[in-house]
Each structure stands twice: as C-alpha cells, then as structure tokens.
Amino acid sequence: MAITTVARPKPLRWWQKHRNRVMLIGLLFVLPALVNFMVFRYIPIIGSAWYSLWDYSLLGGFREFVGIDNYVRALTRDSSVLNGFLVTLSFVVLKVPLQVTLALLLAAFASQERRGMGVIRALIFIPVVTSFIVVAIVWGMLLNRDIGLANSILQTFGLPRQSFLTSQTNALPSIVAIALWKDVGYSVIILVAGLKGIPVMFYEAATIDGANSWQRFTRITIPLLRRALTFVIVTTTLFSFQVFIPIYALTSGGPGQATNVIVHYVYQQAFVYSDMGYASALSILLMAILFVVSAVQLRLLRRGDW
C-alpha cells in the first residue's frame, strides 16, 4: 500500500498574518503624525522637564543642577507666578463662556439653509484664518485712546473716551474682546457641523407635540450637540489658557502686570530674563494644570451618546 506524504504548509511569518499586516499598514499611515508629535511635542516636553532641573540660559548654558528649586521658587517665592495664573484664569473665565454662548447662537443662525448663508459662514470664519499678529496690531490702532475709531464712535454718542489698553482695569477685558472676535468663528464651524448632524425628525416630532422654539433648543439641540459642545469647551479652555499673541503684540503684559498671563511670563523668563531653566519649570507646571483642567472637564461633560 503506497503511503502518501502531504507536505506541511510553511508557517506564516508574523507580517504575513492578515491581522498583523493590517496593523502594520495602519502604523505606517500614522507614522508621519507620530514623527511630528514625537519631534515637535514629546521630545521637547521631555527636554523641557530636564532643563527645569537646571540653572540654564540660552546664552550662559547649563550652569548648575538645582533639582526642584525652580519649582519651589515658582510655588513659594515668585508672586508674579500667582499673578500670572490669576490673570490667565480671569481671561479664561471671561472668554470661554462668552465664546461658547456666542458661538452657539451664531451656529444656530448660520446652520439654517437660506440664501447667502454660505457667505455669512465665510464672514464669521475670516477672522480665524487671519494672522493674529495682524489682528492685534489693527485692533490696537482701533482702540487707541486718542485717535482710535472705537473712541471716536463712543464720543459720537456722547460717551467719554476710554483707555482700552492703557488702563489696568480695561486692558484684560479688551484683550478678551479681541481674542473672542478672532476665535469665535472656529467654534461656530464645529457647532454648525454638529447641528447638521441632528436628524430633522426630532424637531418635526417635537413640533407636532407642541414644543416651542426655546423648548426645541433646550431639549433637543443642546443635548444632541453635547459632543461638539464638549469639544468646543475643552479646546477653547485649553487655547485660552495658552493665550500669548495679543498680550505680546499689544500690552507686553502691562499696564502694571494687569495682562501678564502665565505664558507671557514664561516667555519673559526664557528670552528676556535669561532664565530658561525657570521658564521650563513654569511651563511644566502649566502643562500639569492644563492636564488636570481638561481631565475634569471631560469627566464632567461626559454623557452617553443618544
């Protein structure tokens, strides 16, 4: 009787297995983004953490290993740090609710399918794509106390001229207003996309059941817009904590230290006061705070999908 030998199939190499091949292909797709994050985000963060343990300046180099002294100094000896965080917090508390509310209202308006709405949406978005430095400089001229257009308009209505950017009371709210004008368009676009994703049948059903427009807005729109709103609130908060350009361009942290937000103070420490080690410590502290803030926000705003 003949014995038939059946050749054993060769075992597959790991990259030949289907599941692994799919994963490998996926990894190659995300490789550019990974490289970007590694090179421009994670490595600098690790570098920054290392610098924060040294007495280090760009011109003087690494002078002395100081351990956590920079952190102790920031938390216990430097009143400008507390001032910086308080000013930043004030900025965030003023800007975020205003921006979210305004964006929601504008999105509700701009999401309607009417003639010319494309143009309206574009007009709302134009400030977003304009250079912030240019925006800041132009607004600075508009808000000039003596020759600015804003004060000329106020005077026309019989109101007194205001020192928008040179008054310790008015400077921060003025910066908030400028940043709001610049950034609200980004939030509007996100919310418009979110609104477009809400099925019309919910509104139809609500209308049939006798709901008025306010009830439809609060009982349908807001809950179903939760994901987009969460994204807008979290990103607006994160970006607001990191505000820098209008401060740098318009007030340099002044008058007094009325607008000296923490990121501007970090910049001053690094590049003006030649204390890169201390600036690195401040930026690590800021990162930790932002991490906590966004974690808390995500936790509070998390809810099941509809």
Binding site: L24, I25, G254, F271
Partner: protein
C-alpha cells in the same frame, strides 16, 4: 491590498523625510550681499590664502547693507590687498529678532564670527563669554579715536569687548509752525522739568484741544514713542541728580544694585512730575503713534537726530526746530548705539579683528556715515562733518560732548530694560509712583543678582 501597501509606503517616505529635515543644517542666512569685484583697480594679490568667510550676525538695515558692501570692498584692498581673501556673510535680522537670534545661535552652537551688539548689551554678552576680550589688541592711540562714552559702553569689568560703530544723543525737536502759531520764541537752551520749570507752561501752550472734549488733538510734548524705553524715559529721573550721586548714576558701580538708585526721593519727584504730564496736565499722550511729532500729533518731541532721516524721506515739507533736551537739575543725553563684537566661537580671529579694526576706524566710519547719517563714535571724523557744525545738528553733538552719559551700565540690561518698560507703563496708567519705584527697584535687583556670580 496592493493599493494599501502603496499608500503606507508613501506614508513611510514622508515620515523619513520629516525626520531627515529635523536633523538638517541651520537655514541659510537671510542676507548675503556679494562683495563687489573691482577687477580693474584690484592691486596685485598676495600669495594665495584659503578664502575665509566671516559670518556677521547683525540688524537688517538697507542703508547699513549698502555701507557694509562698500566698506568690505575697501577693506579687501587695504595693506596691499592683504585681506583680499576675506569675505563676509551678513546674517541680518530685524531689530526685535536680533537678540533672540544671538541667543539661538549660541544655544545651538552655531559658529558666528562677528556680532553687532547694542551698546548696553555688550556687558551682558561679555559676562556670558559671547565676545572676545580685545583689550590687548588695541593700542591707546587706537582707543583714543572713539568718544569716552563709547569706550565705557564697550567695556566690562575693565576689559574691552566692543569697538563702537555709532553713537547717539538727543535733542528736543519741535514743529516750528506750531511754535510760531502759539506765539512762542524759543532759543536753543534746554527747558527745565518740574511744576515750576520752564518747560510746563510752554507745553501747555502748545497743547491744543480745539473741540474741548478733554482729549487734545495736539499734545505739547512727547518722547519719541510709542514704546516706553529707558533710553528716553529714564532721563527725567537721572537729571534730577548731580554727577556722582545715586539718582544721577542710576545704578551701583557694579551694575547690580538698583535700590537706593532707582527709587530715591529725587527720582520719585521726577517720575511723579512725569506722570503728571500725562494725567494731570495732559500735555503728553498715553498712546502716542509712531513719529508723533512729524505726523502732527505733538508739537515737541525728544529724539535722536535720526529723526531727520525720517523727516527727509516721509515729511519733506515739515518745518523743524531744535533745542537742547529738557532736564531737571543736570542736563543729560543718553548715549550708545551699535558696537562690533568678535564672537568667542570664531575660528578666524585675525581676520575678524582686522575687519572690526577697519570698520571702527575713521575710514570705516565714513561708509556708515555716508548712508546712515547717524552720529559717529569717531571723535576726529565727527569733527570734520559739516552737518554737525551748524544748526540744528550741532545741538546733538554739543550735547553729546558736554552731557553725554551712557545708559544704565549693567550686565542685566535686557532684563532691566524690560522691567523699566513695564514700570513706565504702570506709571503712565496712574499707579502710585513711590510704590512702583520701590517694587521695580527690588525686581531689577532680583534679576540682576545672577550676574554677581
């Protein structure tokens, strides 16, 4: 699946390119004018030397670029063409970016041969060992070609680091038509600060509020704005002292102590009056535009005579007058402008030194003067210039000679200057003067403390 692999491969290539780009050499310099090649008149070249290109990190200035191009061509011909193998690569940055560019250059270990440093920053660069000590490379006769103020500005702890390129001083410039319209007759002697000084009534007369809304259309007085630099705005306090006293000197001899110098009673008196000019008498604007006086926004302004270049180019019909700048007790003008520095990282010291010596000589200064028209640091050369022998520019050079005082001499000048800016903004917005000077004197000392090491 094949298509997937293709796209994945493209992604891998992009990632590799990005990694490669991150490790690439620094970007090429932003300006590298070719040296002229006057072949017809070129002297016989000495024995062939390996070409040397010096990298010169400096301010971006169109007029300076022309001056240096000609200067380099002349330098290559001196001493029988001894330096004909030397070329210069100008890495020019806008003013606000120059200091960060220097910091970046040092931090990344980039080789630089020459650095253009603002006078008050020479001490900082010397402290950080950015500049070569050239004390032993200059004879007393060579040092004597510059003004004493220039030597002070280029010196740190008794050693010389920075030969000067230019100098500066101020005058009080005014709109002749506005002065005539106010019925004023002015001579060239400086006005005095203070509630009882000669300046205030004149500035009040020159301040015009046609519609009576409390905001003048024309302010009587302005320092060339709009930023609040110590170059112009510290003078008022220093002039309320006498040479040698803390108020006048403004900082301790080692450049590290500010308490008892910045916040003296005399300084507070002066700063209080300065604040009153904005808030009480309203003869100064809290937000002046650039070129306030030339634009018709103020009747008088303290400024360098560089103002005349702007006038000629942009306001040719402006009728200008000049007088000595105002003061409290002791006249003063703040001095200081650009200096040449030889970088510690240079590998071509002899060539760099030769170029710097030439550039800072009377011959080199002539090229800068030809295009920039700014007060030279070279004493003999300045004495030959007709422009400084007659009104109004003679006021600048006379003031410089009699009352020129370097700005606050401290290795922490960048930090001090930023804090002064912040202080002055708070002063202008109405803060308590005594509290502010005390607070900022402390902060200035805190940031200067590290230079005691």
């Amino acid at each position: 699946m094949t298509r997937l692999w293709t796209f994945a491969g493209i992604g891998a290539v992009i990632g590799t390119i990005m990694l490669a780009a991150c490790g690439s050499a620094p970007a090429a310099p932003t300006q590298a004018p070719a040296a002229p090649n006057p072949a017809a008149t070129k002297p016989p070249a000495p024995a062939a030397k390996t070409p040397v290109t010096l990298r010169f990190l400096k301010i971006a200035d169109e007029l300076e670029a022309k001056a240096f191009t000609e200067m380099l061509a002349a330098f290559q011909k001196i001493d029988g063409g001894k330096w004909s193998y030397v070329n210069i690569e100008f890495d020019a940055k806008p003013f606000a970016e120059l200091f960060p560019a220097i910091q970046k250059s040092v931090a990344t270990g980039q080789v630089t041969d020459l650095i253009q440093s603002d006078g008050p920053n020479v001490k900082n660069f010397a402290y950080n060992k950015l500049l070569r000590d050239v004390t032993d490379n200059y004879t007393p006769a060579e040092m004597a070609q510059w003004s004493p103020q220039s030597i002070v500005e280029g010196t740190y702890k008794g050693r010389f680091y920075g030969p000067p390129q230019n100098q500066s001083c101020q005058a009080l410039w005014y709109n002749q038509e506005m002065v005539d319209a106010a019925g004023l007759k002015l001579d060239t002697k400086g006005l005095t600060y203070g509630p009882n000084g000669t300046g205030l009534p004149i500035w009040q007369k020159l301040t015009v509020d046609k519609n009576g809304d409390g905001t003048p259309e024309v302010y009587g007085f302005q320092n060339s704005g709009p930023n609040w630099s110590d170059y112009l705005n510290r003078i008022i306090a220093r002039t309320n002292g006498k040479p040698g006293d803390p108020t006048y000197e403004g900082v301790s001899p080692d450049g590290l102590k500010f308490k008892g110098f910045f916040d003296t009673d005399k300084a507070n008196e002066a700063f209080q009056f300065d604040q009153d000019l904005f808030t009480k008498y309203k003869v100064r604007s809290t937000q002046p535009p650039a070129n306030a006086m030339l634009a018709g926004f103020s009747a008088m302004a303290v400024s360098q005579d560089l103002l005349l270049g702007t006038l000629k180019n942009q306001f040719p019909n402006f009728k200008i007058g000049a007088m000595e700048p105002p003061y409290w007790v002791t006249p003063m003008c703040h001095t200081g402008s650009w200096h040449y520095g030889i970088s510690s990282s240079t590998k071509s010291f002899d060539e760099a030194l030769a170029f710097v010596k030439y550039a800072s000589s009377d011959e080199g200064a002539a090229f800068i003067w030809k295009y920039k028209n700014q007060l030279p640091a070279n004493v003999k050369f300045t004495a030959t210039l007709q422009e400084y022998k007659s009104y109004p520019r003679n006021i600048t050079v006379d003031n410089f000679t009699k009352y020129g005082k370097p700005r606050i001499e401290t290795p922490a000048y960048t930090e001090y200057s930023a804090l002064f800016n912040e202080f002055y903004g708070a002063l202008v917005s109405g803060g308590n003067v005594t509290d502010l000077t005390k607070q900022y004197a402390q902060r200035m000392e805190d940031v200067a403390a590290k230079y005691a090491r």
